[in-house]
Structure formats: structure tokens, C-alpha cells
């Protein structure tokens, strides 16, 4: 493995860079269009992700409004299906993944002592194709026959035989999203391999860098498989191939195998960087070193490797033979071992620490508790015989929203609160932040916890209507949903204030217990950092 021991000059990172060696920051829209600065691109990614979070959230509000009462009242079923589909696609590919890429852009160079990402020009491209992908996806909602209505998993034959012409738009937008995240992943890998500061050995790398490195490898391994799957859907639908059509010798179950071969590593793509973030925040506010750094690294790598051999646990009810169901059940349960190691390490880090509960720590602790709830319901779903009951019910919806909303999204919010003062140089509005945290925490549990109950009682997911006995729970769930949605406007207000640079100036270290290269540079972080690499001891 290459060790970045050679000293770099500013020119190294600035290759292909507009020549701004006088630290002059360009102004206006062209700054953002043509920027190759990792901090600018990180900001673009994060704002884009936040806007998509609100758009996808608005769709969730439509879903919850329809489900507020039994019966059909607000939207017709086809539009309801489009909402569940596009909500899922936007939240996965438009909110969570770009937010993590944005954090990687901001933080990875600062954490490893690099002046910028290794491939700044490509970095610009990988962001700027993303808005077009989502414009295409959103515009598909307005074509005749409506947008994609087959669920974000686009199972064949729903997406091949029974879908509208807008499927082509869906396929192209997924292609563009895939290209964007592959380019982002390549950039992260090359940066981490080639641009670490002297002395930054592999086992000294901050955990956010480690988890992102592993995530990036997952991305380049599975995003191309997703691209293949959507391409097969496209040719099956429009060009007469029969990959998934039994009449032509294909097999619709094969679609699920190919999709979940991508899909399961994908869910770890959305959670591994979160593990990294929490592993930064907990030690800071416990004022102790992270317990078990090396085991964290190995656990992350184990989770990533195991993610490739568990895909069929999404398919227990497809009629697999018993030995396959047993294999995928035990392989899935095995993942809870490295995940349990992580949760144990976070708790052990807090144990007898000098804890304080600043806003990032509040989100981090909520993450640990609520992600664990989501992990445990995942363990329940892994048990093959009971999965036959839980499959395609709201129990599954509760499970993956606990790991993705109170898992991935809470970790992103925690990260924003943790590093925002470093980015802006000013402390954010703590009162607003606490309101945001407590409103989100209460409403998110009201939103997702009762879903476990209605799911166990048999309420199917993706259906715009339900039988009467689920009415009370669904009203509570919808109220929780609206409250959670509204709570995010507190976050929006806080972010706007922060971008206007309101608030008290912060020190370079910002948080008393914070450690790492990014806390050694001035606050706010200058436009160019580490033009002369630091030496890590």
C-alpha cells in the first residue's frame, strides 16, 4: 500500500484547479458551477441532499395523509404507488447517499491532511450530474400514465410488463445517479490511498475515513450491478429481451437475486459512514479515546464482506429450498456480531466517561439506541419462519425506517451539528438545535414505533387502504409523520442562520474533547487547507 510520505506542494492538489493561490474565493453562480474545491462541493452535496430530503419527505406526507384514515380519500392508488416509489428512490439516492458524499468531501481531505480531493475536476462532475438525474426522475411524475409506481425495488414484472413508458426515464435517472456515486467513490478511494499526510498510517486513519473507504469499495462493487439490472429492465420492456420474462425463457425471480445482490450491500453503504460519524462524536463528548479502534475497523470490513452473502434474506418467501433459507438466515444473523461489537464499543467509550450532552451527542446517543432497535427488528426478520409472517408488512417498514431515519439520517444530522461550527466558524443556534432534536426524537418514534404493531397484526405495506382495526394506530403514525416533517423546518431555519454566519465565534478545536486534524485548522476552515501537509506523529 502506498504511503503518502512524499511532501506535496500546493500545485499537487490544485492541478486542474482554477488558479486561486491568493486564496481569493470566486463569487457568484460560477463559483458553484465550476468549483473544484472539496469544501464547496461538499456544501453543494449537503444542500442538495437536504432539498431532496424535503422533497422526498413531502411525498411521505402524501402517503401519511392518505393513510390517516382507512378507505381512499386523497389520492388515487396509482398516484399513491408513485409516491411510495419515488419517496424511496429520492431518500436512498437523493438524500442519504449524497449527504454522506457531501460529508466525505468536506471531511476526508481535512481528516487525512490533504489539500483537496485527488480528482477535483471529476468531483465537480459527479455532483453536477446529480440534479439532472433527479429532474428526470421527478419529471417522470408528470408524463402521461404517471411516474414509476412499482416500488423503489422495481421488481419485474411490475417494472417490465406492468409499468408505464416513464420507466425509461426512471432507468436513465438511475444510470446517472449510479455514475455519480461511482465517480464519487473512485475519488474517495484515490484520495485516501494517495493523499494521506506523512505519518498517517492505515491504522491511524480516523474512523470516518475508514468507514468511507470501505463504503466506497462497496459502491464500486455494486452500483454497476444496479446499472446492469436497470438496463435489463429497459431492454425487457422496450427491446423485447426476456431476462425476467418466463415466456421467453427468463425468470422473474432472477430479478430479485440481481437486485438484492446490489440491494443488500447498498443498505450498508447507507450505514457504514454513519458508524464512522458516531465513532467521532461519542469519544469527543465522553472525553475518552474510542474504545476498540482496531476492532471497529475490522468490524466494518466484516460487515462489508458479509453484506455480499446475505441478499436472499429479502426473498425468503420466493420458494427457496430449505438449505438456502438456512444459509441466508445464519449468514444474516452473523452480521449482528460485528454490529454488536460496534454498539458495545460506543457504550464502552461512554462508560465512566466525562459525558456532556451537546446537540451532536444527543443525536449520537439517539442513534445508538434507535439504530439498535432497528437492528434487533432486523434480527427478527432474519429468522426465516417468522419472516413469512412479517414479509411485506409494516413491520418491515418500521425496521428499515429505524435503521435509515433514526440511523443514517440521525447520524447525518449529528455530523452536521458536530462539524458545522468548524465549517462556518460560528456556533449554531443551540436553542433551535435542541428544539430540532427533541421534536424529531419524539415524533420519529411516534411515527415509526407503532408500525411494528400494525405490521405484526398484518397490515401490508405499499397499499393505500387498510382494514378498520388499524385505524387508530395509523392516525397516531400520521400525526407523528406530520410532526417529524414539520420539525425539519427548525433544522432548515438553523441551517439558514448558520450559513448567514450568525452566532458566537468558536475556537479552532470547537468542542473541548475533539481530536483530529480537522480541529487543528482555523475556524472557519479556510478555503484551502493543508497546502503543506501536516506531519502526523
Amino acid at each position: 500500500m502506498s504511503k503518502a510520505t512524499d511532501v506535496m506542494t500546493p500545485d499537487d492538489a490544485a492541478h486542474g484547479h482554477d488558479e486561486h493561490h491568493d486564496h481569493h474565493i470566486p463569487k457568484g453562480i460560477t463559483r458553484w458551477l465550476f468549483t473544484t474545491n472539496h469544501k464547496d462541493i461538499g456544501t453543494l452535496y449537503l444542500w442538495f441532499a437536504f432539498i431532496m430530503f424535503l422533497v422526498g419527505g413531502a411525498m411521505a406526507m402524501v402517503i401519511r395523509a392518505e393513510l390517516f384514515q382507512p378507505g381512499l380519500q386523497i389520492v388515487d392508488p396509482n398516484f399513491f404507488n408513485q409516491m411510495t416509489t419515488v419517496h424511496g428512490l429520492i431518500m436512498v439516492f437523493g438524500a442519504v447517499m449524497p449527504a454522506f458524499t457531501g460529508l466525505a468531501n468536506w471531511l476526508v481531505p481535512m481528516m487525512i491532511g490533504a489539500p483537496d480531493m485527488a480528482l477535483p475536476r471529476m468531483n465537480n462532475w459527479s455532483f453536477w450530474i446529480l440534479p439532472f438525474a433527479f429532474l428526470i426522475l421527478l419529471s417522470s411524475l408528470f408524463v402521461e400514465g404517471g411516474g414509476p409506481a412499482f416500488g423503489w425495488t422495481f421488481y419485474a414484472p411490475l417494472s417490465t410488463t406492468y409499468s408505464g413508458d416513464s420507466t425509461a426515464l426512471f432507468v436513465f435517472s438511475v444510470h446517472i445517479m449510479g455514475i455519480s456515486s461511482i465517480m464519487g467513490a473512485i475519488n474517495v478511494i484515490v484520495t485516501i490511498f494517495n493523499m494521506r499526510a506523512p505519518g498517517m498510517t492505515w491504522m491511524k486513519m480516523p474512523l470516518f475515513v475508514w468507514t468511507w473507504l470501505i463504503t466506497a469499495f462497496l459502491l464500486i462493487a455494486v452500483m454497476p450491478v444496479l446499472a446492469g439490472a436497470v438496463t435489463m429492465v429497459l431492454t425487457d420492456k422496450f427491446f423485447g429481451t426476456s431476462f425476467f420474462d418466463a415466456a421467453g425463457g427468463g425468470d422473474p425471480v432472477m430479478f430479485q437475486h440481481i437486485f438484492w445482490f446490489f440491494g443488500h450491500p447498498e443498505v450498508y453503504i447507507m450505514i457504514l459512514p454513519a458508524f464512522g460519524i458516531i465513532s467521532h462524536i461519542v469519544p469527543t463528548f465522553a472525553r475518552k479515546r474510542l474504545f476498540g479502534y482496531a476492532s471497529m475497523v475490522y468490524a466494518t470490513a466484516s460487515i462489508a464482506l458479509l453484506s455480499f452473502i446475505v441478499w436472499a434474506h429479502h426473498m425468503f418467501t420466493t420458494g427457496m429450498p430449505l438449505f438456502a433459507e438456512m444459509f441466508f438466515m445464519f449468514a444474516t444473523m452473523l452480521i449482528s456480531v460485528p454490529t454488536g461489537v460496534k454498539v458495545f464499543n460506543w457504550v464502552a467509550t461512554m462508560w465512566r466517561g466525562s459525558l456532556s450532552f451537546e446537540v451532536p451527542m444527543l443525536f449520537a446517543i439517539a442513534f445508538i439506541v434507535l439504530f439498535t432497535i432497528g437492528g434487533l427488528s432486523g434480527l427478527m426478520l432474519a429468522i426465516t419462519p417468522v419472516d413469512f409472517q412479517y414479509h411485506d408488512t409494516y413491520f418491515v417498514v418500521a425496521h428499515f425506517h429505524y435503521v435509515l431515519v433514526t440511523g443514517a439520517i440521525f447520524s447525518i444530522m449529528a455530523a452536521v451539528y458536530y462539524w458545522l461550527p468548524k465549517w462556518t466558524g460560528k456556533m449554531f443556534d443551540v436553542t433551535l438545535a435542541k428544539w430540532h432534536f427533541w421534536c424529531s426524537l419524539i415524533s420519529v418514534n411516534l411515527l415509526f414505533f407503532p408500525m411494528h404493531f400494525v405490521g405484526l397484526a398484518g397490515m401490508p405495506r405499499r397499499i393505500p387502504d387498510y382494514s378498520l382495526q388499524f385505524a387508530d394506530f395509523n392516525q397516531w403514525i400520521s400525526i407523528g409523520g406530520f410532526a417529524f416533517g414539520l420539525s425539519q423546518f427548525i433544522f432548515l431555519a438553523l441551517l439558514i442562520k448558520a450559513c448567514k454566519k450568525e452566532g458566537e465565534p468558536v475556537s479552532d478545536q470547537v468542542w473541548e474533547g475533539a481530536e483530529g486534524l480537522e480541529w487543528e485548522i482555523p475556524s472557519p476552515a479556510p478555503y484551502h487547507t493543508f497546502e503543506t501537509p501536516p506531519v502526523v506523529k
Partner: protein, 196 residues
């Protein structure tokens, strides 16, 4: 600087190769899936060609119940039913069952039947010496036919399987049919009117 750039470029090239390789792997999964299922028989697909029946020893000590169910794919107007719903057979014994089809539509339709066996593992032991599912079946408007299927159960069938179900699904493949003349259907009976 150039050394750094070269290092980056080499790394990018390697990663792009991985990306292209994984894109190819996605498509390679298609034949891999077929081969894997062919060998293990776990997806319940039976073989697509006729098996030879040659001096198979009949195991009188075992009796296997084979059930036949039929369905037509959405949009496929044919009537399709198994004349024999259920048959008890000894492994190794040659049996013939018959399926009735009728095309009630006003146009010619070509059908393809796709078998699926449940439990899937039994598929490997269902040997068909003759089946309408090996070929596409054309029927002109109003025609009906009885289509035979001849099979024997391999005596190697695992001990714990006493009962399995064979399902045929009829698909309308007129749009992509091989250039078949409806008159060429070997199972076709007379037009209902003229056949009286």
C-alpha cells in the same frame, strides 16, 4: 507532481476496470443463475428437452402423488386445464397425462407453456419423454386441442418427497412466435363445429 498524477491515474484506471468488471458481472449473473439452477434444480424448472426412457427399474415400493395445476398468464385468453388433476405413480413408471386447451379469441394465438415444480428440488427427478411445453403451441380462433405429456419419476427421487406439484403457465407469445403455421399444431383436434 507528475509522479502523484501518475499514481492517481493508475489507481483510477484500476478502479474503472473493477467498475466495468462488475457491470459485466451483473450480466454474467444471468447465465450463472441458469447454470446454477440447472445443476441444483432449486428453482423448480424442469429440463427443456425430452428425456429418454430406457429400461428404468420400476420401484413398486414407493408411490408418489403428482399433482397438475394450470394457469394462464394475465391477458392470455385460452382455456387451459389438466384432464388429470392428480396421479399416483411408482418411480420409474411411464405415465401419460393430458391437458385441454381452447382458443376462444377471434385471432390466432401462439402459446408457450412454462413448467414449475414445487418443491423445487423434485424438478430434477421429473423426466419428461414428451411434452407440449418443449415447443410453442399455435391455435387458430376457436380451435381446441388435447396436449399430452409423458413422464416418469426418477427412482433417485429423495426419500422425503412423496408428493409434488407441477404447474404449467401458458404465455401468449404470438408477438415473438417462431414462424409457425397454426395448422402445424400436432395436437390440434378438428374445429369444434366440423368435429361433431
Amino acid at each position: 507532481m507528475t509522479q502523484k498524477n501518475n499514481q492517481n491515474r493508475n489507481m483510477v484506471l484500476k478502479l474503472v476496470v473493477i467498475v466495468i468488471g462488475m457491470f459485466g458481472f451483473g450480466f454474467a449473473l444471468v447465465p450463472l443463475y441458469d447454470v446454477f439452477c440447472d445443476i441444483t434444480g432449486i428453482n423448480g424448472k424442469t429440463r427443456n428437452s425430452a428425456a429418454a426412457y430406457e429400461a428404468v427399474e420400476i420401484d413398486e415400493s414407493r408411490e408418489i402423488t403428482v399433482e397438475f395445476i394450470t394457469r394462464t398468464n394475465t391477458g392470455m385468453p385460452w382455456e387451459f386445464r389438466a384432464e388429470t388433476k392428480r396421479v399416483k405413480v411408482h418411480p420409474g413408471e411411464l405415465n401419460t397425462v393430458s391437458f385441454y386447451v381452447r382458443n376462444p379469441a377471434s385471432g390466432n394465438i401462439v402459446a408457450q407453456a412454462i413448467p414449475s415444480v414445487s418443491p423445487g428440488l423434485a424438478a430434477l427427478y421429473l423426466n419428461k419423454t414428451e411434452c407440449f411445453c418443449f415447443n410453442q403451441q399455435p391455435l387458430s380462433a376457436g380451435q381446441e386441442a388435447y396436449m399430452p405429456m409423458q413422464f416418469y419419476v426418477d427412482p433417485q427421487l429423495p426419500e422425503d418427497i412423496h408428493y409434488f406439484t407441477v404447474q404449467y403457465t401458458l404465455y401468449d407469445v404470438t408477438a415473438r412466435a417462431d414462424d409457425l403455421d397454426t395448422q402445424a399444431n400436432p395436437f390440434m383436434t378438428q374445429q369444434p363445429e366440423s368435429g361433431k
